[in-house]
Symmetry: C2
């Protein structure tokens, strides 16, 4: 069990009333309890306490500045107790999937982060929005474009903010690539290659291998990061895609894609080439431009990442990507800064995912895409 | 003009009679002129004195141990004089394209290296074989598979050795990758990616951009190296290919392919992904295996190359790849060592090249390949 300091624990409990004052050292009794002050840290409830919540999101929320772990939603009673102890979560902020909707009445929860299997994203994102909570929906946004639309509409209707759990837009190496591309440091991009793959040998009953829960294999998991990479690696949305699928372990990958490659045309003239796999290790983004190149390798795991260009290496201090991601979304809500990962970005990627599967079904045929500026940030 | 030492110059002239004795310090008059001794260095004639001969092959032949620059064949009279002076080539070893066949009578020439535009490979390789000379045919071997067959048959009929100008099979980084794959240091290969591309902005009238002389663009030039890479990167011949073409500068690439991507299936289960281009810079080979990975980056330019695996970097002293290549072929002739790049390897790659173009013509359809062990080394 990770110990948290009493000061940190207290500051969290106090924030709903007057965290800023408390942090400044004033005793709570001196704060006048009048009109609710704007919060300086938003309470996040994690929905689904699988490995990503356990090993990435919850630890990251120990370091966030503009948000904090306030609640949990889980279907496993033993996890309620464990998390309550570990992170000091009061029982009033602990929900299960049945009583989840009553979260609407809980002012300690500002943001609901949906970390469930893909098939459950649409339901819980919409219910979170209807409960008046801002929503982070883990990637891929949903099972298909139709579900993405439903989530976006629900959030618009409820007047809440929506983000997708892409953790790299707040990450400095990725931001550096975006800057190099945006400022045309090396001129126009001619070719961009992105591989996002890891070897899966684990439990054959995991939800990622179940098409009803995942909606797809490598492409729906790491593949959306390789799609993201070639988009921010060119600064443009693709105008066409051709794709191929490779299957060599059908006894393990019974229902979901094992390895997929896809090629993209971009309006500025760049060619894009991606690979995603649950049967290989590869983690790289490379762009060749008029007068130089950039490379991230690794490019999309939890870090530290490594970057270089034709002019030399570049580096940034390592921080948890999820910390940066959640703080950026909280700042968007609190301060009106840009939403780096709006819902339409997740929807755009799902349009591309559907086009990739369509090309594969049509033997590698070219599928045209008409995305305009959708989801570019 | 590069000066060559008198000793080196003499040793070359003397080799036909008794180079070994001369090198050992014995005056020539003491050597009995009886049955011709086996040469210890073979005379090479370069056919075509373009930039590859000028800046790569001729300088490399200053360092070779088992062969030497003995003659030239050129259509440009000014080059005759220039090369004769620079490399001490006697006029008896200088030919043009008209009198080339009389090279049959020249005992100083053992190997003819055809370094002409692709469309001329078949004619001069066959004529060299018919003149009784061993043949190195620059890559790509010819314009199509039919021409490769004609060259192979001519060499077999004439009883001469044949090699293709792939310079990497003698190169230590490439040999290290072949060893890692052969010995399964990291287990089976699951994914292999090879990019071979450079930016072409030069003279739009160069032969590489003329389809009648080149037979194709990036694929026929660097593309064969990316094909080679995924083959020695897996140790197998592919069993299928799908391919895509990208065209963004048709005003420059009027007749030849600009950028091509292709995906291969291998019998052992690996997926291969290549890119070749005259409109981008990329130079890399990466393989993901059961328990580790290897990478060469750069992988296929003239070096120095750079290699690493999941266990760390590896390096070798840099030598001219062409020196190693030509020495290996000369040793094959002189000592019966293995021909690292036999003609059937060049033919195999041309079968793959034709399948790539066929897939592109069919909109990215999967083309099956039935290569067996052809050309594997």
């Amino acid at each position: 069990m990770k110990k948290i300091s009493r000061r940190k624990f207290n500051s969290r409990l106090g924030k709903g009333l007057g965290g800023a004052a408390l942090l400044a050292g004033m005793p709570l009794s001196h704060v006048t309890a009048c009109a609710p002050k704007q919060k300086d840290s938003l309470g996040i409830a994690l929905v689904g306490l699988g490995s990503y919540s356990t090993y990435q999101l919850a630890p990251s929320l120990q370091d966030t500045q503009y948000c904090h772990l306030a609640g949990i939603v889980t279907g496993t009673p033993s996890k309620e107790k464990e998390w309550a102890q570990k992170y000091g979560i009061p029982s009033s902020n602990i929900y299960n999937y049945e009583n989840f909707d009553s979260i609407a009445d809980n002012e300690a929860i500002d943001i609901v982060y949906v970390v469930l299997p893909n098939s459950m994203h649409v339901d819980f994102s919409i219910r979170a929005a209807q409960a008046g909570k801002h929503v982070i929906c883990e990637k891929p946004m949903a099972m298909n474009v139709e579900e993405c639309d439903a989530i976006i509409q629900a959030c618009e209707k409820a007047g809440v903010k929506l983000s997708v759990g892409y953790r790299l837009h707040s990450e400095p190496y990725t931001q550096e690539v975006k800057r190099l591309v945006r400022e045309k440091t090396f001129g126009d991009v001619h070719y961009v290659s992105a591989d996002a793959a890891y070897m899966s040998r684990g439990n054959p009953d995991q939800w990622r291998l179940d098409i009803k829960l995942s909606g797809g294999g490598a492409l729906m998991n790491m593949g959306v990061y390789s799609i993201q990479s070639v988009i921010y690696g060119t600064g443009e949305n693709p105008i066409s895609v051709q794709a191929q699928e490779f299957s060599t372990r059908p006894e393990y990958f019974k229902q979901t894609d094992e390895t997929i490659t896809a090629q993209f045309e971009f309006p500025g003239g760049a060619a894009g080439n991606i690979m995603t796999s649950h049967n290989a290790s590869a983690n790289r983004l490379y762009g060749s431009c008029d007068s130089g190149w950039y490379e991230l390798q690794p490019a999309n795991h939890y870090g530290p990442l490594h970057g270089r260009t034709s002019e030399g290496e570049f580096s940034f201090p390592h921080e948890r990507q999820q910390k940066l991601q959640m703080d950026d979304f909280a700042k968007h809500i609190l301060q009106g800064t840009k939403n780096l990962v709006p819902g339409e970005m997740g929807k755009r990627d799902m349009i591309i995912v559907e086009a990739v599967y369509k090309s594969i079904a049509e033997g590698g045929a070219k599928i045209k895409l008409d995305l305009g500026e959708m989801g570019l940030s």
